[in-house]
């Protein structure tokens, strides 16, 4: 038994890892820039960079040394000159046919490179430049690096020459931002002939090769830190701790009342199987199943709370506020449950031990409650345990309609405001609970049912 449990726990690890991987892929790889998604396009690049810095989104994805930075706004020069729009002496040359759109920097001038904000102090950067420069011209990248020696700041002029090239050529120009990057004053000088630039990109060097988003995410999880909500500015772990209470107050009664009703009705169905009553219940169950959850909520709230005034319409103050959501939750889930448990009961009804019980002259009720129910309990228990994680997520719609401040409400709010950290945390915790519940089911199964062999 102990070996079995131990092995099952080991099997959990890949699944949990898979869940972490999926949330990572979903939110970090596919999702584009979470900063843009949450803050919108109308904030300064510096704010976006800070958002990314807190959440580790400005690092390389999984492995790598060079990370993107918003210090210089990358542009492909297809439509306009990008950040170079306002710089004198720069002309934009669109060439979309051959995908060679570029900007031309007129000769014999010195250009201040248009940066969105000063680069981060004490960090190495590199420019990647794709350019063309004829042989009678020359260009170089110049910056004044401030160097302080005992309260005395002197500027040292650093110069990197750009070699001439008739064809499009790509080079990288590394530099260090030093301690006072706002004094860095980066320039590009062009002499003799114009330089044509097709692409230009600034990258920041990460601390080490594993300083990546993925490692950041894993380390965050290892610290049990689920991030910070950008809407409420609270740690997500605290928000979840506060939200789980109201959620459980709603879902636990729904679950147990629903379970009790479904099992009782399914026993009645099994008792009178193939009678009018049984058929009526089946049709009723399918009809209940087919009515959308939304409709239950909207119509229930309108009729019972608003029109008839039997229940409060919205809020979470006393226990009466929970009554209507619980009733709606029970009714909307009843159809599916009833059908499921009826199948479970009928499956047992055809087994040999039931026939034996009938053969020895036992009454129908006795067989049903003493034998069938007891054997069906294995499936029932499995079903109960597997439902536990769904109790935690609460009911998204019920909570947001009735204003119950649980996790479901939180989830909907977070999705409406694109609060990445909150959604990621809820998804992740829900998944981990599901995996744990699965483990628990298997253990219970092995423990309760002697027919299950512990392979």
């Amino acid at each position: 038994m102990f070996n079995y449990v131990f092995r099952r726990i080991l099997q959990m690890i890949p699944t949990v890892f898979g869940v972490i991987l999926i949330t990572f892929v979903l939110f970090n790889v596919v999702g584009g820039s979470p900063a843009l998604m949450t803050l919108g396009r109308h904030v300064s690049p510096q704010m976006l960079e800070e958002f990314d810095e807190i959440r580790g989104f400005n690092k390389p994805l999984i492995l790598g040394l060079w990370a993107e930075t918003r210090t210089y706004e990358v542009s492909d020069f297809k439509r306009n000159a990008g950040p170079w729009r306002e710089v004198d002496g720069v002309t934009h040359h669109p060439d979309t046919d051959r995908d060679h759109s570029h900007i031309i920097l007129a000769p014999d001038m010195e250009y201040a490179i248009p940066l969105a904000f000063p680069p981060r102090a004490g960090t190495s950067f590199r420019w990647t430049l794709e350019y063309r420069l004829s042989s009678d011209g020359s260009a170089s990248f110049i910056y004044d690096k401030p160097e302080s020696e005992e309260n005395d700041i002197s500027f040292k002029k650093r110069r990197i020459d750009i070699p001439y090239s008739d064809r499009w050529r790509k080079i990288t120009l590394p530099f260090n931002a030093g301690e006072q990057p706002d004094e860095l004053n980066m320039r590009l000088t062009v002499e003799g002939a114009p330089i044509e630039i097709m692409a230009m990109e600034l990258e920041r060097r990460a601390d080490h090769i594993l300083d990546s988003q993925f490692v950041f995410f894993i380390r965050q999880l290892a610290r049990m830190d689920l991030g910070t909500s950008h809407v409420t500015n609270q740690p997500v772990t605290r928000m979840i701790r506060e939200g789980i209470g109201p959620s459980l107050k709603l879902t636990v009664p729904i679950f147990f009342v629903g379970l009790f009703m479904a099992i009782s009705l399914s026993l009645i169905c099994a008792f009178y199987r193939n009678s009018m009553m049984d058929r009526m219940f089946i049709v009723l169950a399918v009809a209940l199943m087919s009515i959308n959850y939304l409709v239950w909520i909207v119509v229930g709230q309108y009729l019972l709370a608003y029109q008839l005034g039997w229940f409060p319409v919205w809020g979470f103050e006393t226990i009466t506020y929970l009554a209507l959501p619980i009733i709606i939750g029970v009714i909307s889930g009843l159809g599916t449950d009833l059908r499921f448990y009826r199948t479970v009961m009928l499956d047992e009804m055809y087994k040999e031990y039931v026939r034996t019980a009938f053969a020895k002259g036992m009454g129908r009720g006795g067989v049903l409650f003493k034998h069938v129910l007891k054997n069906a309990m294995i499936t029932v228990i499995t079903n109960i345990i597997i439902a536990i994680p769904f109790l935690y997520t609460g009911s998204l719609l019920l909570e947001s309609f009735f204003g119950i401040p649980g996790l479901g409400y939180m989830g909907i709010e977070a999705i409406n405001s694109s609060d990445v950290d909150v959604i990621r945390a809820i998804v992740l915790i829900g998944a981990v609970l599901y995996v744990a519940a699965n483990l628990l089911t298997d253990i219970c199964y092995a423990w309760v049912d002697p027919r299950v062999q512990l392979k």
């Binding site: 898979g18 991987l21 409709v295 909207v298 055809y350 999705i415």
Partner: protein, 329 residues
């Protein structure tokens, strides 16, 4: 009864499908549901034609045309159709003509912007079908291919695929769909991917189980002995024998996808700018409090009957196709 059925099967040599069809045909409820489904399909196709026609001619379709004067018109069958505004005497023929034309104008009333609810309901059917079909086209192939590979090859492949689907199954369903839709962006694409990429798991599990059973059957061994390739054995020999699982899954998957789309659109993550049932319900929700119930009623009734028809049909098809249930009777 059973022996007779077996005997008859031997004589005529009916295929599984022909047999299932003859069973289904005698089930009156299932036939009725099939009729309902066909009706809805026709309506959806009509909606698609209307949509395409107006897009082609670049005019605003009638279901988007707003008219503030006709705001909140109740369904025309509730108004007394033969009422004539001016008091002067009119012939009964003329009365009948105005009555019928009034009836035809807005059979299910108008919404808050004076748009015709009936036409919007038809467009909602089109959107629902689009979602059902496209998500099936995403989810079913993934489920079938992965399920077949896992069941057939076993070992490492099986472990890997089982790992993938347990992972997917672990993530809370609706939240996962919402998260995908949010990440992909609003609009139909997010809905398609959200539903399609999460709902293949059940089918994959079923197919894997069936393929594992079939793998050891003599006909597969014979195919191996003939030197056929794995690909051919899986898709030409085993798949047709487990295909009933796909059909049954599809009939249950379709209404689930439709319902989920309604959720997403209702929450403002799904369809935008087009009259989906979810959007209609969402719009009608607040108006319901003012006693304007017809938009709500139209969308929810349309939704209810298609889901009910598919659920009942799915049950009937499963009963007709599943050999295990047949021997049990």
């Amino acid at each position: 009864m059973t022996t007779h059925a077996i005997h008859r099967d031997k004589q005529t040599g009916k295929s599984l499908w022909a047999d299932a069809w003859s069973r289904l045909r005698h089930n009156r409820l299932a036939m009725f549901c099939l009729l309902v489904v066909i009706l809805y399909t026709g309506v959806a196709m009509y909606g698609e034609i209307v949509y395409r026609w107006h897009q082609w001619h670049d005019v605003t379709p009638p279901y988007q045309r707003t008219n503030m004067e006709l705001q909140y018109l109740p369904p025309s069958f509730l108004l007394s159709p033969f009422a004539v505004d001016d008091g002067e005497e009119v012939s009964s023929l003329k009365q009948a003509v105005t009555g019928i034309s009034n009836l035809m104008r807005h059979p299910l009333g108008t919404d808050g912007l004076g748009r015709d609810v009936f036409q919007r309901m038809i467009q909602g059917t089109r959107i629902a079908y689009m979602v059902g079909i496209v998500t099936s086209l995403i989810a079913l192939p993934i489920g079938v291919v992965l399920g077949c590979m896992a069941g057939y090859f076993g070992r490492r492949v099986d472990d890997f695929i089982v790992w993938i689907y347990t992972t997917f199954a672990s993530i809370p369903g609706l939240l996962f769909i919402l998260a995908i839709a949010m990440v992909v962006g609003q609009g139909l694409l997010g809905v398609y991917l959200g539903i399609g990429l999460t709902m293949w798991v059940g089918l994959c599990r079923l197919i894997r189980g069936e393929v594992i059973k079939h793998k050891e059957r003599p006909y597969v061994t014979a195919a191996h002995a003939l030197g056929l390739g794995h690909f051919r054995i899986i898709f030409r020999h085993i798949l047709p024998n487990v295909f009933h699982v796909v059909i049954v899954s599809f009939t249950l998957f379709f209404p689930a996808a439709i319902s989920t789309e309604v959720f997403l659109s209702f929450l403002g993550i799904g369809v935008e700018g087009e009259p989906s049932w979810g959007i209609m319900i969402s719009n009608a929700r607040l108006r319901l409090w003012h006693g304007i119930w017809w938009e709500m009623a139209a969308a929810t009734t349309a939704l209810f009957f298609i889901v009910l028809a598919f659920n009942l049909l799915g049950d009937a098809i499963r009963d007709a196709l599943d050999p295990r249930l047949r021997t049990g009777k």
